[in-house]
Each structure stands twice: as structure tokens, then as C-alpha cells.
């Protein structure tokens, strides 16, 4: 898994590539990267899943831990461009009730501004 961060309109976008799996954990986890941005005063985080094929329960834990850290500081964490299959899993597990998920990045960015 590779994660690249970029910034647009005070929104931090994490482009994630590969699979977020327990067996593929590097020294710095997604949650740690999000926390670093929060520590730096950023409050709007977008996870771009365009190149994510699948995630396991560890991946879900990372996303939710990032969501908790962001929201407890009054920030927003959203997700863009998840695959159809992954979206179905999110629906069945009701993750869609908690997480804000957008079809494309531009829509997600606009929603931050609208907030």
C-alpha cells in the first residue's frame, strides 16, 4: 500500500494505492498520517480510494480511527472514489451511515466548502 498526501483549498487529500491490509502495514499507518495532519492544524481530510482494490478489517479500523480523530477535533473526514464492490460492503456493514462517500474527488472537495 502506498499513500501520497497533497493539499487543495486547505483540504488534505490522501491518494491511496493498493490494498489496506494488516499484512501490508508499513511503519506509518494511515491513521498516523491523518493524526500528523491534525496535529498540524488541518481539519479537512479526504481519502481518495481510486486505486484501492480491497481493504480488510484492519483497513476498516484504520479508516474509522482516522474518522474518530478528525471528528473529535471538529474536523471532517470523507472518502472519494471507492469501487462499486467496496461500496456495497460499506452499505451492508452500514459504514455508509457514518462515513461520507463521494463518487469523485471534485464533488467531495465541494462538499467540504459547502460545510
Amino acid at each position: 500500500m502506498e499513500i501520497h498526501a497533497r493539499e487543495k483549498d486547505d483540504i488534505i487529500i490522501f491518494d491511496i494505492e493498493g490494498e489496506i491490509r494488516r499484512s501490508d502495514v508499513s511503519d506509518v499507518t494511515l491513521h498516523q498520517l491523518v493524526k500528523d495532519q491534525l496535529d498540524g492544524g488541518k481539519r479537512n481530510i479526504l481519502l481518495n480510494f481510486r486505486n484501492v482494490e480491497f481493504i480488510d478489517s484492519f483497513g476498516v479500523g484504520e479508516i474509522l480511527a482516522s474518522y474518530i480523530s478528525t471528528h473529535n477535533l471538529g474536523g471532517k473526514l470523507k472518502i472519494a472514489k471507492i469501487s462499486k464492490k467496496l461500496y456495497l460492503v460499506f452499505q451492508v456493514t452500514m459504514l455508509t451511515k457514518v462515513l461520507e462517500i463521494f463518487d469523485d474527488e471534485e464533488l467531495a472537495l465541494q462538499s467540504f466548502i459547502a460545510d
Binding site: 494488516r22 480488510d56 471538529g74 456493514t93 452500514m94
Partner: protein, 831 residues
């Protein structure tokens, strides 16, 4: 330049900011120019009435005033709907200017009825102009600005009273001198000019705000103009407004009784020079009010809050009322009237106006029209009605009238005190209602919205499909065993049906649901399948055979061995805790593959074997399985709290591990875990503080019934507040030295974290919701919501904590904050 000079002169006396200077001075002048002419008019009013008619007629004058005011209010309400606020005020000023001159002309004819008409007119004058002034104040200021600045512009009014009364005393040539009305008229012209300047300033401000609104800022409410009926209905509908109205009624009825006592004694004691006497008396009263307002009002609010400050006025009047009842002398009459008016113009005026601040502009405007204009005079009418039967007694001496009136006044003051206590309680509630919660604790939202175990199981089920069909089957069985193999999930799993078609797992998908594939065997019912698998697994022979297999797997290495170990780890979770196979979990837990460990952890959590707890705690080190280990430990619940507490308190353990243990204790969330976390907090190991405070906050959010030892919390709060001071002082120093931004960023982060800790700690001992709302609004609110948040804290926290915290959150300049911190750092009292 001149602005700077005025600011330099004013800033040591008044807590005004440079941006507020202009409007503060304008409001000061406006109130000055309302009260100064009124004190001239009032001196002539009392002198002419007592001179021509005498105190016996006073109750009728009070009553008549009330009736006339009723009509004036109705007229005012009708007009204000049709014209702008600025035009209404200007027209009112022009009306009083001309009528002032008309009274001067008619005074030459010496009509007996003129003093009573003049009496009523003078009261209409002050009611209308005074109400209009406060409506403008309420439009412009928020509660914090009001608290800071009210003392200043009320002093303007009081100064106007001193100047007006003083001029009346100095310039009056006769017993009743109507010539002074020329002077009053001149002051009203100046007042109209000041109103114009305020209007111009407000218009400019609104233009700026409109521009900001376009940028996405919160829009301010624009109050609609209410009619009288609308105002009456509004007050009747709202408990808080009804309470304010009741207090105003009681205050003014008592004030009318005091006025009667005063005028009676003056008439009986004084010979001539009534205008001069009333002029100087009014001026003297205002001097006292001025000093009270300037030196005490802000301090009283700051030190004692709204509740106690509101009680001061009735308590003083109760004492004076008992005093004049005992000795009806001119001294006592001056004392009671002096106390009444000086407190009314200073502390009571500020306190009463403050009560209106937390109401929405629309409601406030409606209520003020009714309360200040109608209730105010209606109360004078009630005072008149109370006095008429007393006058009708035809008592042999005026002292007896005074005594009876004192008894009645004391009884009313008692009621006034009771309602004051109630209204101040409602005030705090109303301020709190102005604050909305910006966000919930996200872990709480997730706990409410999601079933995390189920969510993880679904993801793992799908993931397992790529690993091995056996592992996949175990997951499906797990879902079925838990009754979670819902139709939606079956559809999801069948999203890619090729694998399923090729396997024997079609059976999982045919029960009570449209078959998604052609099954080769007869359908199997879920409960039958569950029972059969459980029975097989409990067979001794199964245990024997499978033990050999498990041991073989445990000795295997490589990718294939990893998947086999995952299957074994998963399947052991289906066994009974007494099964000998369960012992193999230790090896699986220690396996270097995080996937194997994860399945072993899950099985350990199911079986809840205590001997694995230390191993699970060790697993908290590993970020890839930390969450699984935390979740497993949470499932053990209360029975491992002691063990977790040992790790938490062990200074030789890794600090990061101890922080995670704190969060696991919070997830278990019992009184015992809270106590352990508090004890650790008391130990004062600073590295752990943030984790401990967050854990305690989580418990507080989820279990409001759990109690926290106040002493530990207050001590730690004080320590955190002091830390914040130190960080800010260092930040200011670093900034002034122009040091690297990196250091400033670290300090800034530490300050934010400390601030968060302070509020989380306060939330443990004060109403959690109130503290959270206040903190969230301070963090992200608009200027007004920050002000309400601070007002809410001001009324919630104990004095020592409040005094220490407010300099951190108040809107202060960097220099002022630094000065406050430097002073407080040395002398911060114990909480």
C-alpha cells in the same frame, strides 16, 4: 490621532477595544442626552406637582400615567411597524422637543391641571426615549460586549443625570421654573444629531456584514417590528420573559411606593425652592449612581455573576424600607429614594438589560416593547391603585401613611427576591440553550451506528475468499452462527459468484432465500448445519484427529503454512474453552504473521481465557493488530481491569503501551476503571496525562452516571491551566525573538492539546453537555456564539476556576493575555 488619545485616556478606566471606541462613545453620548433633559424635566415635574396639587394626588397621577402609557404603547407599536427604527427615534425626539416648548408657553397661563398633564408627559418622555435607547444597545452588542461596556455608557446616562439635575438646581430662579425647558429642548437637538451618527455607523457596519455573509458567514437575525398584541402574546408564551416582566412589575410597584414616601416627606419637610431641591437631589443621586456604575457594576458582575448582582437592589431597598417605616425623616426619605434611583440607574439597569441579551433579537424586541413601555407604566398604575385605599384612610399624620406603605413595600420586595432567584436560574439556562452542539464524540457515534464486530467479520469474510475456501467457509459459518447471514449480505457475497458455484458453500445461500446458484445436494437448514458442526467439534475423536493436524500445521512454515495456521486459529474459536486444543492458541498468538495473530486474538476473545491476557497486552505494541488486541481485551471486561491497571501504573512499561491500556480501560468503562485512571492521573506522570484525560472523557461521554473524584480533577485542571500559561508565555517570547517556525508550531500544538485537556477535565465535574458545547463553540463558533459560550462558563464554573480560565478564552489582545498570564502564573489560587 484624536481617536488614539481618547483611547489612551479611556482604556485604563473602561475595558474597551480600539474597534469599539466609536460606538461606545456614541452610546455614551446618546444616553447622556436622554437623561440630562429628563432630569431637568423631572425636577420641574415634582416641584410643580407638589406645589400645585400636593402628595395626596400622587396616586392618581401614577394611575393616569399608566393609562396614558397604554395608549402611547399602542400608538408606538403601530408607528414602528410602518417606519424604520431610526426614523421612529428621530420623530420621537422632534415630538418631545416641540412639546417641551409648548409646555413652556402654557406654563405662563397658570392652569391648575397643567402639573398633572406635565407629570404624565414627563413620564411618557422617559419611557419612550429610554426604551428606544436600550433597543439600540441590544441591537448592537452581544453579552460579553455588554458586560464590558455597559458600565461605561450607563455612566453616560448617569453623568447626564448629574448635569441635568445640577443645571436645574443651579439655574432654577423660582419655586417652579419652567424656563429650564429651553435648556432641555437644546439638549434634545444634540441627541437627534448623535442618533444620526449611530445610524450612519450601523449602516456602514451592516454593509460590511452583508459582504461577509456573502462569503458564507452566518447571517444575523433581523428582528421584525412587532405590534402591541404580538408583544403581549410573546411575553405570555415564554416563561423567561414572564419572569422578567414579573420582576419589572415588582420593582416598579416598589419604586412607586418609595416615590410616594419620598415626595410625602419632602412636601411635609420643605418650604420653597422645590425645583432647586429636586434638581440638586437628582444630581446628587446620579453622582452616587455614577460612582456605583463606574466602580462597581462591572466588578460586581465579574465577581458575583448575574445571580447575586440582581439580588443587591431588592436587598438594599428592603433594609431602607424597614428603616423609613421606623423613622419617617427627610434623611430616611432621601436615603431610600437615593438608593432606589442610584441602584436603578446603575446596577439594576445593567443587570436587567443583561437578562434580555440571550434572547433572539426578534423575541427581545417584542418583549422590550411590552415590558419596558407598557409593563413599566402599568406597574406605576398598580402602585397608584395600592396607594389610593391607603390615602382614603384619611390618617391623622403623614408618618402613618409612610409606615403602612413600608409594610406593603417590604412584602412586595420579598416576592421580588424570590422571582429574581428564579429569573437568574432561567438566564443561565437560556444562555446555554443558545449554544448548539457542533459535533458528537465520534467514537460514540460509531458505537451507536455500527456493529464493529459484524463489520470486521464481513470484511474478513470477503478477504478470506482469496486466501482459502476453508477459511471462507469458516467465516460464513461464523456469520450464520451469529444469525448475521442476512439477505443483503448473501447478495454481497454472491457479487462474484464464480467461487461459490465451484464450492460446496452453496448451502449457505439457499436457506429462506432465493437460491443464487444451482445446488448439487439437498438444501441444508441453518440451525441444522450449526448443530451438526457443533456436535462434530465436540466429539473426542474429532479433537484427537484434529490435534495431530494442528500440531503439524504449527510446525509448518511459508505462505501455505500461514493460511493453514489462520484456519486453525479461526476454528479454535468455535471450540469449547475446556478443549485441549485451546492451548495451541498461545503458539498462534506468538506467530510472526499478523494475520495468524489476528485470528488467534479473535478466538482468545471468544474463549476469554485469562492466561492469554498478558500476551494480548503485548500485542498492543504491534500497530497491525493493536485494534484487534484492544477489542479482545475489552471483551474480557471487568475481570481484567486490575491487570490492565497494573500495566498502566508500571513505569517500566513502554509509555505508548500504557497509553493504549488507558484507552482499553476507557472502552471497558466502569466505575472501577474510572477510579484506576483517576489514581494514575493523581500520580502526576505528565507523559500519560493526555491519554488518561481522554480515557476519562470517553467514560464520561458514554456513562454519565460514573463519578469522578473532584479534588483530583480540580488539582489537575489547575495544573493544565498553569501549563497553558507557561506555553503561551514561551510562545510569545519565542515569537518576539523571531525564532524558527517549527518551535512555534510545537508550542501551538501543545497549547491546543492543553486547552482540550482543560475542557475534558471540566466536563468530568461540571455538566458534561454544557462544557462540551461551550468548548466546541469557542473552537469553531461565530463571535456571538463564543460570547455565549464564555457567558455559559461564567455562570457554570466556580469562581477560582473561572478566574483562571477566562483569560485563556476571553477575546483579549496578545499583550493583555500575556500580562494576565504573567500575573496569574505567580498567584494562581488553589481550586
Amino acid at each position: 490621532m484624536a481617536k488614539n488619545l481618547i483611547f489612551k485616556i479611556l482604556s485604563p478606566l473602561v475595558n474597551v477595544k480600539p474597534s469599539e471606541l466609536k460606538v461606545s462613545l456614541l452610546l455614551f453620548s446618546y444616553f447622556f442626552l436622554v437623561i440630562a433633559p429628563y432630569n431637568i424635566i423631572k425636577s420641574i415635574r415634582n416641584a410643580s406637582f407638589l406645589d400645585e396639587l400636593g402628595y395626596i394626588w400622587l396616586p392618581f397621577a401614577y394611575l393616569l400615567t399608566a393609562v396614558v402609557i397604554g395608549f402611547v404603547v399602542a400608538f408606538h407599536s403601530k408607528i414602528q411597524v410602518k417606519i424604520s427604527r431610526y426614523l421612529l427615534i428621530t420623530f420621537s425626539l422632534i415630538f418631545f422637543l416641540f412639546t417641551c416648548l409648548i409646555f413652556r408657553i402654557f406654563s405662563d397661563y397658570g392652569w391648575t391641571g397643567l402639573p398633572i398633564i406635565y407629570w404624565v408627559w414627563a413620564n411618557v418622555f422617559i419611557i419612550v426615549l429610554n426604551t428606544q435607547f436600550w433597543i439600540i444597545v441590544n441591537d448592537i452588542l452581544n453579552p460579553r460586549e455588554f458586560k464590558r461596556l455597559s458600565g461605561f455608557f450607563i455612566s453616560g446616562g448617569i453623568l447626564g443625570g448629574i448635569v441635568g439635575g445640577g443645571l436645574a438646581g443651579l439655574l432654577a430662579k423660582t419655586n417652579v421654573d419652567y424656563d429650564l425647558l429651553y435648556l432641555a429642548a437644546g439638549l434634545l437637538i444634540l441627541c437627534a444629531f448623535v442618533v444620526y451618527l449611530i445610524y450612519r455607523w450601523q449602516k456602514r457596519l451592516q454593509t460590511v456584514e452583508r459582504k461577509e455573509d456573502k462569503k458564507g458567514e452566518e447571517k444575523s437575525e433581523i428582528p421584525s417590528k412587532p405590534g402591541f398584541r404580538d408583544s403581549l402574546i410573546t411575553v405570555r408564551k415564554h416563561k423567561y420573559l414572564r419572569l422578567i416582566a414579573t420582576i419589572v412589575i415588582l420593582t416598579l410597584v416598589v419604586s412607586t411606593l418609595v416615590d410616594f414616601q419620598f415626595n410625602t416627606v419632602v412636601e411635609e419637610s420643605k418650604g420653597g425652592g422645590l425645583t432647586r431641591f429636586f434638581g440638586f437631589f437628582n444630581a446628587g443621586m446620579m453622582v452616587i449612581a455614577f460612582l456605583l456604575s463606574l466602580l462597581m457594576t462591572s466588578n460586581l458582575f465579574k465577581r458575583y455573576g448575574v445571580r447575586l448582582t440582581l439580588l443587591l437592589y431588592p436587598l438594599v431597598l428592603l433594609l431602607c424600607s424597614l428603616g423609613i417605616g421606623v423613622a419617617a425623616s427627610l434623611f430616611m426619605a432621601i436615603l431610600i429614594k437615593g438608593s432606589d434611583k442610584s441602584l436603578s440607574y446603575s446596577i439594576n439597569r445593567s443587570a436587567r438589560e443583561l437578562l434580555y441579551i440571550p434572547i433572539s433579537p426578534d423575541l427581545k424586541y417584542k418583549a422590550m416593547v411590552f415590558i419596558d413601555m407598557f409593563v413599566d407604566r402599568f406597574s406605576k398604575g398598580i402602585g397608584g391603585l395600592i396607594l389610593i385605599p391607603i390615602i382614603a384612610l384619611s390618617l391623622p399624620s403623614y408618618e402613618l401613611y409612610i409606615r403602612i406603605v413600608s409594610v406593603v413595600a417590604s412584602a412586595l420586595i420579598f416576592g421580588w427576591i424570590v422571582f429574581t432567584t428564579r429569573v437568574s436560574r432561567e438566564f443561565v439556562n437560556t444562555v446555554k440553550q443558545k449554544l448548539s452542539r457542533k459535533w458528537e464524540r465520534a467514537d460514540q457515534v460509531i458505537a451507536e451506528e455500527l456493529d464493529m464486530d459484524y463489520t470486521k467479520l464481513v470484511f474478513d469474510t470477503l478477504e478470506s475468499k482469496d486466501r482459502s475456501l476453508d477459511l471462507y467457509a469458516m467465516h460464513l459459518f461464523d456469520l450464520m452462527k451469529q444469525g448475521r447471514l442476512t439477505p443483503e449480505l448473501r447478495d454481497l457475497i454472491a457479487y462474484d459468484t464464480e467461487d461459490i458455484k465451484a464450492s460446496s458453500m452453496g448451502a449457505f445461500f439457499e436457506v429462506d432465500h432465493t437460491p443464487m446458484m444451482q445446488a448439487t445436494d439437498a438444501p441444508i437448514h441453518e440451525d441444522v448445519l450449526k448443530k451438526e458442526i457443533q456436535e462434530i467439534m465436540s466429539l473426542d475423536v474429532y479433537q484427537e484427529v484434529i490435534t495431530d493436524y494442528v500440531d503439524k500445521v504449527l510446525s509448518e512454515e511459508g505462505e501455505e503454512g500461514e493460511v493453514a495456521k489462520m484456519e486453525v486459529a479461526k476454528s479454535i474459536g468455535f471450540l469449547e474453552p475446556s478443549s485441549p486444543l485451546v492451548e495451541r492458541l498461545e503458539n498462534l498468538l506468538l506467530d510472526e504473521s499478523p494475520d495468524v495473530s489476528k485470528y488467534a486474538i479473535e478466538s482468545v476473545a471468544r474463549l476469554k481465557k485469562r492466561e492469554y491476557v498478558p500476551l494480548l497486552i503485548c500485542k498492543l505494541h504491534d500497530p497491525s493488530i493493536r485494534e484487534d488486541a484492544s477489542s479482545a481485551l475489552e471483551k474480557y471486561g471487568i475481570k481484567i481491569v486490575g491487570t490492565l491497571a497494573d500495566y498502566l501504573g508500571d513505569e517500566e512499561e513502554d509509555i505508548e503501551l500504557r497509553k493504549i491500556v488507558a484507552s482499553v480501560l476507557a472502552r471497558i468503562g466502569t466505575q472501577e476503571t474510572a477510579d484506576f485512571l483517576l489514581w494514575e492521573l493523581e500520580e502526576n506522570k505528565r507523559d500519560l496525562d493526555t491519554a488518561l484525560i481522554d480515557a476519562l472523557d470517553r467514560i464520561r461521554s458514554e456513562k454519565p452516571d460514573i463519578e469522578f473524584t473532584k479534588k483530583i480533577i480540580t488539582t489537575k485542571t489547575r495544573q493544565e491551566i498553569k501549563t497553558y500559561y507557561e506555553l503561551f508565555i514561551e510562545f510569545a517570547k519565542t515569537e518576539s525573538e523571531g525564532k524558527v517556525e517549527e518551535r512555534l508550531n510545537i508550542l501551538y500544538r501543545n497549547m491546543s492539546r492543553t486547552m482540550m485537556n482543560i475542557f475534558k477535565l471540566l466536563g468530568l465535574i461540571y455538566p458534561h453537555e454544557d462544557i462540551v458545547k461551550a468548548h466546541q463553540n469557542i473552537q469553531t463558533g461565530t463571535k456571538d456564539s463564543v460570547a455565549y459560550a464564555i457567558e455559559s462558563l461564567d455562570n457554570t464554573l466556580h469562581k477560582e476556576i473561572r478566574d483562571a480560565l477566562l483569560p485563556i478564552i476571553e477575546d483579549l489582545s496578545k499583550e493583555d493575555r500575556l500580562k494576565a498570564f504573567l500575573a496569574l502564573r505567580k498567584n494562581l489560587p488553589k481550586f
